[in-house]
């Protein structure tokens, strides 16, 4: 943002303020249509010209952008919306007049801000218990920073099932496969004893030309076989044996 004053800036401000102030302010519906690309080009241009002079319309246009975004299903937000509705419902009386008095948060009632925050926290807790384990771990993985992630180097050349087994304590670990030159690989993680696949996915070299995989906190302890192939169902190029044990062991 421009913060300094200068001859150039002052002259530009003077020039813009010389132009007539816009009078005909677009409605919220026009801004919604604008953000959805429903307006002809010349009207879009007019609206954009209007924004340069009109601060309130700029703010409204920016708000309309958030409204016009397509809906995306979000389990976490639906839970919060449901919890928030339960709280709001208690504020809505049988008549509109009743709503006003309750929303003022007076007459000996606790402040609704306090009630809202504490009750919502309780409601969310109860609601979140209902989410399945996968949803919860996804949310945690998305939101929680993970410091001190240890690296486990998996040098190439371990091509046989009889290769050296690496032991990795449970906890977040970054597996690093080195010395790769293909643009993409396929990694399958199998239970060592049964060969049952527990995870598979494509690996691509990162900017340092290494392949990496984050082993999460909750990865189940056990013995695994990591098979690195040239493609899904393709030739296995490397195999690493990994033993995941209980405890962080940092």
């Amino acid at each position: 943002m421009a913060e300094r004053s200068s001859d150039f800036r002052d002259t530009l401000l003077e020039l813009i303020e010389e132009s007539p102030e816009p009078m005909d302010h677009p409605s919220p519906d026009r801004w919604l249509a604008y953000h959805r690309g429903e307006l002809p080009e010349d009207e879009e241009t007019r609206l954009q010209e209007h924004l340069a002079r009109c601060r309130d319309c700029f703010d409204l246009a920016e708000a309309a952008a958030a409204f016009a975004e397509p809906e995306k299903p979000d389990a976490g937000q639906e839970v919060e919306t449901a919890a928030l509705w339960r709280l709001l419902r208690s504020q809505l009386g049988p008549s509109v007049g009743n709503v006003r008095s309750i929303s003022a948060g007076r007459r000996g009632r606790p402040l609704w801000r306090f009630r809202l925050a504490s009750t919502l926290a309780a409601s969310l807790f109860v609601a979140l218990v209902g989410l399945n384990l996968q949803q919860r771990s996804e949310i945690a993985a998305l939101h929680a920073p993970q410091p001190n992630v240890a690296f486990v180097d998996l040098p190439s050349g371990e091509r046989a099932a009889g290769g050296r087994e690496q032991t990795v304590p449970a906890g977040t670990r970054m597996l690093v496969f080195s010395d790769k030159d293909l643009p993409a690989y396929w990694l399958a993680i199998r239970e060592a004893a049964t060969g049952k696949e527990v995870w598979s996915g494509e690996l691509r070299p990162n900017r340092d030309s290494v392949l990496t995989l984050l082993l999460p906190e909750k990865f189940r302890p056990g013995r695994y076989r990591l098979e690195l192939s040239d493609a899904r169902g393709g030739k296995v190029l490397e195999m690493h044996l990994l033993r995941v044990t209980e405890g962080r062991g940092d």
Binding site: D7, Q48, A52, F58, D59, E62, F67, L88, L92
Partner: protein
């Protein structure tokens, strides 16, 4: 569909269709199952309001307060909604008004009052605006005025020769003092494109105006 007809309730779905929403408004206005009708509207619009508030209000608790204030306003005003514009536009206007009122009350809000020093004697005369900011017409010499006029004309011409998108980016960035991300949102282009427009505009203005202005700093 007539009012009061028994149909499966769409309330449980946050993605109720436009007809469900309009029916809910009609039912609410006629006093038919008001709570259920309003719940549908709440579920329909709350995600949008949260998206709107999320980038503007950092505190989660403040956002909850504002969300509740917005829906209470909607609840209070819904009987008066006559469908002259879309319901979505009407809700947007209410959400925006509630947010703006809240924003203007914040310390850095639009209407923040200037701080007053306690060191000033209470009966000290207010400084004259004319003393602080002498107007060009009274203070500037004819030469200064001629220079100013020349600069204004040169800038007008240089700005007019910029590509429209470049000009808009400069105006919003300098005049409105908006951030790149905000400009990108309202012009529906990427922040990188805004930066590129600003960069190119700066280059062009420098080429044309640096003999007059010296620096083109924005």
């Amino acid at each position: 569909m007539t009012v009061g007809e028994q149909t499966p309730s769409p309330v449980d779905s946050p993605r109720a269709g436009p007809e469900d929403v309009l029916r809910a408004v009609r039912d609410f206005q006629r006093g038919i199952d008001r709570e259920k009708s309003f719940e549908l509207l709440f579920r329909r619009f709350r995600p949008r309001i949260e998206r709107f508030l999320a980038s503007r209000v950092f505190s989660h608790e403040e956002r909850l307060d504002l969300t509740q204030a917005i829906f209470l306003r909607i609840y209070q005003g819904l009987e008066g909604y006559r469908g002259e514009g879309s319901l979505e536009g009407w809700v947007l206007q209410i959400a925006f008004n509630v947010y703006r009122k809240w924003r203007d009350r914040q310390p850095g809000g639009r209407n923040a009052s200037p701080e007053v020093s306690f060191d000033d004697p209470p009966d000290a005369p207010e400084p004259s605006v004319m003393e602080s900011f002498p107007s060009p017409s009274t203070a500037a010499s004819p030469f200064d005025q001629a220079v100013r006029q020349e600069r204004l004309e040169a800038l007008r011409q240089a700005i007019g020769e910029l590509a429209p998108k470049q000009r808009r980016c400069v105006e919003l960035y300098v005049y409105q003092e908006r951030r790149v991300q905000e400009i990108a949102t309202v012009l529906r282009i990427s922040p990188e494109t805004v930066k590129a427009h600003l960069f190119q505009a700066r280059q062009r203005l420098w080429d044309k105006l640096h003999p007059l202005f010296g620096t083109i700093d924005f």
